[in-house]
Symmetry: C2
Subunit: 173 residues, 2 copies
């Protein structure tokens, strides 16, 4: 099914629903070009610096963190209904130990504007170029969040991706 361009805001309700339920797949590729998907449950969209952005959060302990520090882009992909197991696998296994795309039967296809690929089987795609990074600041975080989300002190880095394209399956929304 050919993908079609989607209006940035129109794609958001479906994307946030995915983030808050099974998760969406953030795909990054290292310098060797090998792509790795990681399930994310947190993220925001909007406009900063006159650019549409997708802010994704990745912990330093993650394999994807190294990929994002090595390269300058990522994609975010929303799985179709019925593939919750793939989201679970991509959120619990590490790309250090296995080829998650192969294990899930997901197909990396070239993106339009960035080096990281999109996933053919997904229904919504954001192509993002990293234009900024900053970190969660423990001392400036509400104590109840610090305790519930960071018992091991593995505070997220925020990757600010300028959204260069938003597209998906015609019936995705």
């Amino acid at each position: 099914m050919p993908k079609q361009d989607l209006e940035f805001t129109a794609a958001w309700p479906r994307t946030l629903a995915a983030l808050e339920q099974e998760g969406a797949l953030l795909v990054a590729a290292g310098k060797d070009g090998k792509a790795n998907p990681m399930t994310i449950g947190w993220g925001t969209v909007g406009n900063i610096w006159g650019r549409r952005v997708f802010i994704a959060l990745v912990r330093p302990s993650r394999y994807t963190y190294g990929l994002l520090e090595e390269t300058t882009d990522f994609t975010v992909n929303v799985l179709p209904a019925g593939r919750e197991r793939d989201a679970l696998l991509c959120g619990t296994r590490s790309g250090r130990d296995c080829d998650k795309l192969a294990e899930c039967g997901l197909t990396a296809v070239p993106a339009r504007h960035v080096q990281a690929p999109v996933l053919a089987e997904c229904i919504l795609h954001y192509e993002c170029r990293v234009v900024h990074r900053n970190d969660v600041v423990p001392a400036a975080l509400a104590p109840e969040i610090r305790e519930s989300c960071y018992p091991e002190g593995d505070y997220h880095r925020l990757f600010f991706g300028e959204v260069l394209a938003t597209y998906g399956d015609p019936d995705a929304l």
Copy 2:
């Protein structure tokens, strides 16, 4: 006209349109309870830490910055069509020098969950409790953004507001 609860994602297209056009009004109130609106053009929404958030950016030079450092909440309000002059005034004048609400004929009314008020004449409202703050990091920002947005080095602070309520006029969307 009584306000009604709105679905968080449903309110976003109209809010982003306001941010990208005339701007939305961020309202903060200092310890003395005096409310001040500031026009914002940048912001993101989504879910972080399992909470719906509105991230607003404020430069340290702004009067509102001091209010937000003094207190722990803010509201974001979308003006109705035809009040672009008010957005312009609230984006160019400072609360240090004038009472912007009085100048614009905007009415502060108590919010439901936060100390900062909402503005009666606006059509959409977000009530936000600040749960985190961090800063734009010059060295980690794309050079073209650093040059175009920060010629004077007045880098934004990001205020992460947990959205406690989203509501507005019944016909706002």
